[in-house]
C-alpha cells in the first residue's frame, strides 16, 4: 500500500491509493447507472435514489449537483477544481450550502459522470449529499483552530464519514440522516438541530468522550434534540451510532415522508422508550466487531496534515498597530475574525454575503482567488461554514491586513459576519421545485437595506434565516428573525418568526402574526429592528431584548407602521 505521507493536506484526511481506487470505482458505477437509465433499463423512479446518492437532484430548470465537502474542509487544489467545474459545466458559479457543501445549479445529466471523474481527480465526490442515507457530517468551522476548543472534532468527523460511506444497512433509511460534531463547549454546529449531534471533549486517558443528542431537526416539524447519552467512550462511538440508526431503520415511519425523520420516531416512542430500544440493540451487538480501537483513530489522525504554527513574537503587536492605523480594517477584524488557540494566529471569515448579493453564491474567479489566498496565508486549507461563508483558519496576525487588502480588492471583504447582512437563505423559487416563494430577492433587499457597516455593527449580532417553503432549508426556525415564504392564492407572502437560535441557547422561533405581502416584508423587518434599537438596554443583542420583552413589544412595529 502506498503511503504518500510527505505532503499531507492540512486539516483533512489524505487519500491514498485505496481511497482513490474506491472513488474511481464509484464513478465507474455511476457511469454505468447513467447508461442503464439512458438505455431505459432503469426507470426514473429506480434511478432517482441512485443519482441522489451521487448528489444529483432534479430542480425547477435543470439538474443540480451537490458536491461533498466533508466536515467543510477542502484544499486549494480542490477549490480550483470546483472553479474549473463551474466554468466548464455550469454558469461560472457555485453555491455554498448550509451542510458545508457546494452545489452547481445548471448541470446536464450526461455530463455528471465526467464531473464526478474530475472531482475524483482531486479526491472529491458527491457521495451521499442527498438521498435517504447518512449525509455529509458537519463540523465546527473553527475546528483545530479555535481558542475555545477542547478537542479537534475533525478526526471523528472523518471516521464517521468513512463509516457512513456506502453503509450496507443504512443507505435506504426512512429519510435523510444528518450528523454534526463539535469539540467546543460553544455550539457552532447546531448539535441539537441534528438527527444526531455529538459534542466531544477529552475523557479518561486522553481519549475523547461524547455527549450524544438525538432527534433534533428543523423542517416542517422543528424539534430540539434530546440528550440520549453522556460520556460515550470513543471505542463505542461506531457501535452506539450503529445501534441508533438500526433502531431508526427498523421503526422509523415509511408511510409518510413528512413524518419519517428520526425526530418523529423519538417523539412517538418518547425518549425513554427510544433509549431503551437503542440500549437493547447496543447490548446485543458484538462490541468487539464494532470497537473503535484507539489504533484505528490514531491511524486516521496520522493522515491529517498539521499546520506549522510559527509566528514572529511581535505578530499580535503588529496586528494591534494595523488595526489602530485603519478603522475599516479594524471593523473587519472585529466582525470577521475568530480567536485562535495560538496567540500569533487568528481565523478569518471571508463573507460570501456581499451587500445586496445572493448568500453563498461564489463565482469561479472568486474560488480561484480564495484558493490562492489559502495557499499564501493559511497552509492551503479552506473551510466552508454552515452559514455559507468561507474560513481561512490559520492566519498569522502580522499578515492579516495584507490578506484583508486582497479580499477587499476582490469584493470579498464585507464586514458582516454574524450581523444583519450575514443572511442564510435557501435557493427558493428561483431554483427549487418545492419552494412557494423566492427567498433570494428578500435576502438581497435586506442585505442592501442594511449595507451600512456602521449600522450593522450598532445593531449587533442578529441572525436572519429565510426559507422559501415549510421544508425549512433556510433554517428559519433557528433564526433570531426567521422568514418563511408561503403561498396565498398564488401570491408570495412571508411569515416572520422571532427568537430562534441554533447555538447553546437553542430555541425555536415563534410566529409573530399573519404573513406579510412580499413588498411589505423588508419594511416590516426594518421597523422591527428600529424598535429593538429603541428598546435595547445596555449592550443587549436583539435576541436578549426579544427574550426580555417578548413578542408583544415587537408586534406593533411589524403590523402597525407609524
Amino acid at each position: 500500500m502506498s503511503t504518500d505521507t510527505a505532503t499531507l493536506p492540512v486539516g483533512r484526511y489524505a487519500y491514498d491509493q485505496v481511497d482513490r481506487t474506491f472513488l474511481s470505482q464509484r464513478v465507474a458505477q455511476f457511469r454505468e447507472q447513467v447508461n442503464r437509465r439512458i438505455a431505459g433499463d432503469l426507470s426514473e423512479d429506480e434511478f432517482k435514489p441512485l443519482r441522489l446518492m451521487n448528489g444529483l437532484y432534479l430542480q425547477l430548470h435543470a439538474y443540480m449537483l451537490r458536491v461533498a465537502v466533508p466536515y467543510g474542509m477542502m484544499g486549494s487544489d480542490q477549490m480550483r477544481a470546483l472553479a474549473r467545474i463551474a466554468r466548464t459545466y455550469d454558469r461560472d458559479y457555485g453555491h455554498f450550502t448550509t451542510r458545508q457543501n457546494i452545489q452547481f445549479n445548471w448541470i446536464r445529466l450526461e455530463d455528471t459522470p465526467d464531473i464526478l471523474e474530475h472531482l475524483a481527480g482531486v479526491n472529491m465526490h458527491a457521495i451521499q449529499t442527498s438521498g435517504n442515507c447518512i449525509r455529509n457530517v458537519t463540523c465546527d468551522e473553527f475546528a483545530g483552530a479555535a481558542a475555545d476548543e477542547l478537542l479537534d472534532p475533525r478526526i471523528h468527523a472523518e471516521i464517521l464519514r468513512q463509516w457512513s460511506t456506502l453503509h450496507p444497512e443504512f443507505s435506504f433509511l426512512p429519510r435523510k440522516f444528518k450528523i454534526a460534531i463539535s469539540g467546543s463547549p460553544h455550539d457552532r454546529v447546531a448539535a441539537r438541530f441534528h438527527d444526531i449531534g455529538l459534542v466531544a471533549r477529552p475523557g479518561p486517558q486522553g481519549r475523547p468522550v461524547f455527549d450524544v443528542f438525538v432527534g433534533g431537526g428543523l423542517g416542517r416539524t422543528p424539534i430540539i434534540g434530546v440528550q440520549l447519552r453522556d460520556n460515550l467512550p470513543e471505542e463505542d462511538l461506531v457501535a452506539y451510532l450503529e445501534a441508533i440508526v438500526r433502531v431508526y431503520n427498523a421503526y422509523g415511519r415509511r408511510d409518510n415522508m413528512y413524518k419519517a425523520r428520526i425526530k418523529i420516531l423519538v417523539q412517538a416512542l418518547g425518549v425513554d422508550l427510544f433509549r431503551e430500544k437503542v440500549d437493547a440493540e447496543f447490548a446485543l451487538m458484538n462490541r468487539a466487531d464494532y470497537r473503535l480501537d484507539p489504533a484505528i483513530v490514531d491511524g486516521i489522525r496520522a493522515r491529517f496534515g498539521i499546520p506549522e504554527l510559527v509566528a514572529p513574537a511581535d505578530a499580535a503587536q503588529k496586528l494591534a498597530a494595523d488595526r489602530k492605523a485603519d478603522p475599516a480594517f479594524d471593523r473587519w477584524v472585529r466582525t470577521n475574525t475568530h480567536p485562535h488557540r495560538n496567540d500569533g494566529f487568528i481565523s478569518a471569515v471571508v463573507s460570501i454575503k456581499p451587500d445586496g448579493g445572493i448568500p453563498g453564491d461564489i463565482t469561479a474567479d472568486q474560488m480561484d482567488l480564495i484558493a490562492d489566498l489559502a495557499d499564501g496565508w493559511s497552509f492551503g486549507e479552506i473551510r466552508v461554514t454552515h452559514m455559507q461563508n468561507v474560513v481561512l483558519g490559520h492566519i498569522r496576525k502580522d499578515r492579516l491586513r495584507e490578506l484583508w487588502t486582497r479580499l477587499v480588492a476582490a469584493g470579498l471583504g464585507t464586514p458582516n459576519i454574524g450581523l444583519v447582512g450575514d443572511i442564510i437563505a435557501c435557493p427558493g423559487l428561483d431554483y427549487c421545485s418545492l419552494a412557494n416563494a423566492r427567498s433570494i430577492p428578500i435576502a438581497q433587499k435586506l442585505s442592501a437595506r442594511f449595507a451600512d457597516p456602521e449600522l450593522q455593527e450598532r445593531i449587533g449580532r442578529l441572525h436572519i434565516n429565510i426559507s422559501g417553503c415549510i421544508n425549512a432549508c433556510g433554517h428559519h426556525h433557528a433564526g433570531h428573525i426567521g422568514i418563511l415564504g408561503v403561498d396565498k392564492r398564488g401570491e408570495e407572502f412571508f411569515q416572520l418568526t422571532l427568537g430562534g437560535s441554533a447555538a447553546n441557547d437553542v430555541a425555536i422561533g415563534q410566529i409573530i402574526g399573519p404573513a406579510l405581502p412580499e413588498d411589505e416584508t423588508v419594511d416590516a423587518i426594518a421597523r422591527l429592528i428600529d424598535t429593538y434599537l429603541v428598546l435595547r438596554q445596555g449592550d443587549e443583542q436583539f435576541i436578549d431584548t426579544y427574550r426580555r420583552l417578548g413578542a408583544a413589544s415587537f408586534k406593533d412595529a411589524v403590523y402597525a407602521p407609524a
Binding site: M1, T21, F22, Q162, L166, P168, R246, N286, I296, G299
Partner: protein
C-alpha cells in the same frame, strides 16, 4: 430472474407456499410468517423456511430458528431498507447460519449491500441480465465499515477489501 447466489444462478430447491395454498406434507417449503406454526407442526424433518414482511421483528423467529433452513426477507419496494436490518439481526444477534433470501423488488445496485448484511440469495421478478447483478457485486472492492462478512481491515483505519 432465476435464483441468484453469490452472483451465480442456482437451482431453487424450495417451494414458496402462498397465504391460502395447502401445505404439502413433504418437501422443502417456505411458509408465510403467519403460517409458521403450521409449518413447524409438519411431521418429519423436511426443510422449512419462512417468509417475513419488512415489519416483522426478526427476534420473533428466535424459537423457530433451529428448525429453519431459510428466511426470506422482503423488499416491498427497493426504497424500503428494513430487510437489511432484519438480515443483520438474523446473522449477528440470532446467529442464523441458513439461507437468507431477498425477495420482492430490490435493485441490482443494492446487491453488494445485501451480501454485506448477510443475505445470500436473491429471487426477484426483475428482467435484467444476470450480468448486471454480477457487475454490481464486483464493481466496488473497498468498504469502510464492519459487516457480517468480517472482511479483513487493511492497515490502519476502517477500510477493508471486499472479496
Amino acid at each position: 430472474m432465476p435464483l441468484l447466489e453469490n452472483g451465480h444462478i442456482k437451482d431453487d430447491t424450495w417451494v414458496t407456499i402462498a397465504e391460502d395454498a395447502p401445505l404439502p406434507a413433504t418437501g422443502a417449503v417456505i411458509v408465510p410468517f403467519a403460517r409458521l406454526e403450521e409449518g413447524l407442526a409438519r411431521a418429519g424433518d423436511a426443510p422449512l423456511g419462512v417468509a417475513i414482511g419488512p415489519d416483522v421483528d426478526a427476534a420473533l423467529l428466535r424459537p423457530a430458528l433451529p428448525r429453519l433452513g431459510l428466511v426470506a426477507v422482503t423488499f416491498t419496494t427497493f426504497r424500503d431498507g428494513r430487510a437489511f436490518t432484519q438480515a443483520r439481526a438474523l446473522r449477528e444477534h440470532l446467529s442464523f447460519s441458513g439461507e437468507i433470501r431477498a425477495t420482492g423488488k430490490p435493485l441490482p445496485d443494492q446487491y453488494e449491500f445485501m451480501l454485506r448484511c448477510g443475505i445470500t440469495t436473491v429471487q426477484t421478478e426483475r428482467a435484467e441480465d444476470i450480468s448486471v447483478w454480477q457487475q454490481a457485486h464486483e464493481i466496488i472492492s473497498v468498504a469502510y465499515q464492519p459487516s457480517v462478512l468480517h472482511e479483513r481491515t487493511q492497515g490502519l483505519g476502517l477500510r477493508r477489501f471486499l472479496s
